[in-house]
Each structure stands twice: as C-alpha cells, then as structure tokens.
Subunit: 230 residues, 2 copies
DNA sequence: GGATCATTAATTGTATACAGTGCATTTTTG
DNA sequence: CAAAAATGCACTGTATACAATTAATGATCC
C-alpha cells in the first residue's frame, strides 16, 4: 500500500477535535507547553493542520480537565505546577485510588489477578537491571489494571485524568530511583491484601502508597521553587 | 433604567457557550431533556438564540462531565439514569465527600462552623413545618459549606458536578420525606465530630450518610424500572 | 407485500468570515 | 517632555458557509 502512512494519520484524527485535544494534552504533560503559556487558537490550528473550530472544542475539554485555565480577560493558558496543585491532585488520587482498591478487592477477576502477578514479577526484573523507564511504564500498567478491576467507569476516567498529571512530575520521579523498591514492596502488599479479600486493608495500603509519592513530589517541588527550576 | 432586563440577560450570557452549557445542563437535570434524547446542534442554537459554535463548545464540556454521551455514528444524546449510574455516582460522592469531611475537620473556619450550626437549626424548623423544598435547599447549603471548608478547589468542583446529578433523582428523594429527620441527625453527628476534631470519624459518618441515600435511590429506581417510570 | 437500492433531506464536521475587544505603539497636544 | 488620544495589530467570540456523513424517503423489483 502506498498510502499506509496517510491511513494511519487519518485514523488517528478521525475527529480533529480529539487529535487536537490529544496533541495539546501531550504537549502540556510532556512539558513542551510550559506553565503559563497562552494557547493561541490560530497557532494551534496551524500546528495541527486544522481550523479553529476543533481547537476551540478541545480547549473546552482541557479546561474541564483542569490542565488549562481561563485567563481573566480572554483566552486560556497552561496551569502552573504548584505545591498546592500536587497536594490537591495526589490527595484526590490517593482517596479515589484507595476506593478503586476497595472495589477491586471484591470485583477482580482471576485474569486480572494473574496480570498483577506478572507485572510485579517484571518490576522485580527492572529493579535488578535498573531499568527506570520500563519500571515507570510497569507501574502505570499495575495501576491501570487496578482501576479496571474496580469496574466503575466514572472512577476509571477520573483516575486516568489524575494519573496523566503524574507525567508532568516525571522529571522529579526519575530522580528518586533509590526509592523504587519501596513501590514494588507496596504493590506486593496491595496484591496480597486483595487476594486475602480485605478491602479496607487494600484501601489503606493504596492510600499510603500514593500518599508517599505525594510527599516526595511536594518536597522536591518546594526545593525546585527555591532553585527557580519551575 | 429601561434596559435593565437586557442588562441582566447580557450579564448572564457574557459568554454564549456558558449560557448554552447552563441551559442544556439545567434541562437535563430538570428532566426537560429526557434520557436518550439526541442533542441537535442547530435546534439548541436556535433555542438559545445563538449559533452552532458555542453550542459545540458546551457539548464538549457536558460530555466530559458525563451528562451526555457520544452516539456511535455521530452526535450526542442524554445519558440514561440507570441503577449502575447511581451506584457509580453516589459511590464516588460518598468517598469524595468523606474526604472533604476529613479535610474540613482541620481546615474549617469559625465562620463556617457557625454557618453549619445555623443551617442545622433551620433544617429543624423545616422538619417541623414539613417544608420539603426548603429542606432540600438547606441540605444543599450544608454540603456546600462542607465542600468549601475542605479548601481543595478540584475536590470542590468534582463534588459539585456529582451533586448536580442528585437533582435528576430529586423526584425520588421527594417521596422519602419520612426519612428526612435521619438526614438532620446525620448532619448533627457530622458537625459534632468536626468540632471534636476527629477527621476519621467525620469521614466515616459522611460516607455512611451518602451511602444511605445511595441505597434508597437505587431501590426506588429498581422499582421504577419495573414500573416503566424511567 | 416485503426487501433492496437510489435519491433526498438532516445533521454533523470543518473551514472561513467578520465584528469586537484589548494591547502596544505611535502620534498628537499642551 | 509627559500625558492623552489615536492608530494598528493580534486575538477572541460569534456567525455562517460548505463538504462529508448519516438518516429518511420512496421507487423499483421479485
């Protein structure tokens, strides 16, 4: 096929507004769009090879998601990464993910249990080989399986939105390689309590697990702010 | 002033997309737009005396909020009210509101405490006079003060979105007048634990409080579905 | 009479056009 | 030279136009 590339591109942007949404979101999360940067509709439209209409639709979704905010006069800008933000996002994530753990404990299938087993095994591998990138990806998978196992679609989409924020902090997380083994330890404990069918215990463990991450990131941002990294 | 009416209208729709958003949302929550009803852009635009562009922006926000959903081929329709929906929404609300109670316990101001006292006093009044509408409004106020007291903006907006759903069930709630005194009782207990500075206890009470509502509504919907009310 | 397909109408998706607003820079005025 | 006014530019908010899809209608055939 000559136009396989075009096909792929066409598939991705079946709906231009979603293409724009994903593109801008990726740019914010990936740090290409720095906090405070204003979104110029026509510029985005040009970048995405489209017109302003889909851009405007994407902007509404991004605002509802909290990645951008309405400027006082007009237009939108990328939200800054502040310590309060992290406190809010991870506080919420801790509670919601705890709830997901609680629900998952009674609703998880054998297949999902097996998946978690396998992910943890791979995490152990990564720890040995100091493969941090792969570890982060596995960590994501672990949490995704947990979210799905809760069988609550709304919870799932909320948690995914919150987790996307994490990628904004990934620079920080990468600096904390030494603590990765703690994460695996947490995962193991969580899985054990799920298997033991103790929902309250799972909820508690998940909250602790996310809460730990919160404190690390907050601390790092506080240092960073002093050092004017942000 | 001759044009005070126009001024007011102009103020409300400073941004047409928000006017449309509020209008459609109100229609869905109020039951004017029945579940399953398809949203026709041009029709909405005509109703709101505007064009399709702001309508499309509003639609994106409504979808992200979960009040409408994308139809398989194209377009959007109002989400149905199902038992699973209620389970999801109120399950989430129970957890998030519990967290709000937890946070509020340490962050609440004296002014907010006083407001809660006053609301409960008024609720007692309504109970005596069997003033149900007023009671529901007061219940809303109580929860709103609690949300605000938590000082977490993201939590606040999530809870407000979830609470808006409640209005879709208000028909059901109105049929449960006998149980209203239980709600006041719950409010009193919650406030007591807040004053006693026991965050975990508050969280537990709030979860129980919302959980009770969940079961009542679910039960009623199950009956209603059999009776083809929905 | 019912299934199939062509034709037409609705509706969405996308692009563009235009008016209004705010902002910066320049120009005018005292 | 400073303050005010005017000009031009960039951008948003809104409306409209056009193309592509989807849904509806009706004609045709067996």
């Amino acid at each position: 096929m000559v136009n396989s590339e075009q096909d792929q591109a066409a598939k991705k942007r079946r709906l231009l507004r979603e293409h724009v949404y994903n593109g801008v979101k990726g740019a914010i999360i990936g740090g290409d769009f720095q906090p405070g940067r204003r979104l110029i509709e026509e510029k985005l439209a040009a970048d995405m090879a489209t017109s302003r209409t889909p851009v405007r639709e994407a902007i509404q979704k991004l605002e509802k998601e909290g990645l951008i905010y309405k400027l006082p006069k007009s237009g939108f800008a990328v939200k800054p990464v502040t310590e309060e933000e992290v406190e809010e996002i991870l506080g919420l994530r801790s509670v919601l993910e705890g709830y997901a753990g609680f629900l998952a404990t009674s609703r998880i299938t054998d297949i999902e249990l097996k998946q978690l087993d396998e992910i943890i095994a791979k995490e152990d591998e990564c720890l040995k080989n100091l493969n941090v990138d792969e570890f982060i990806s596995l960590d994501g998978e672990f949490h995704d399986v947990l979210y799905k196992a809760a069988k609550n679609s709304r919870l799932y989409s909320l948690l995914n939105d919150l987790r996307d924020y994490m990628y904004r902090y990934r620079v920080i997380i990468l600096h904390y390689q030494r603590k990765l083994h703690l994460a695996v330890q947490d995962h193991k404990e969580m899985l054990e309590s799920i298997k033991a069918k103790c929902p309250r215990q799972v909820e508690k463990l998940v909250r602790k697990h996310v809460g730990r991450g919160k404190e690390i990131i907050k601390k790092k941002i506080k240092q960073g702010q002093q050092a004017r990294v942000w």
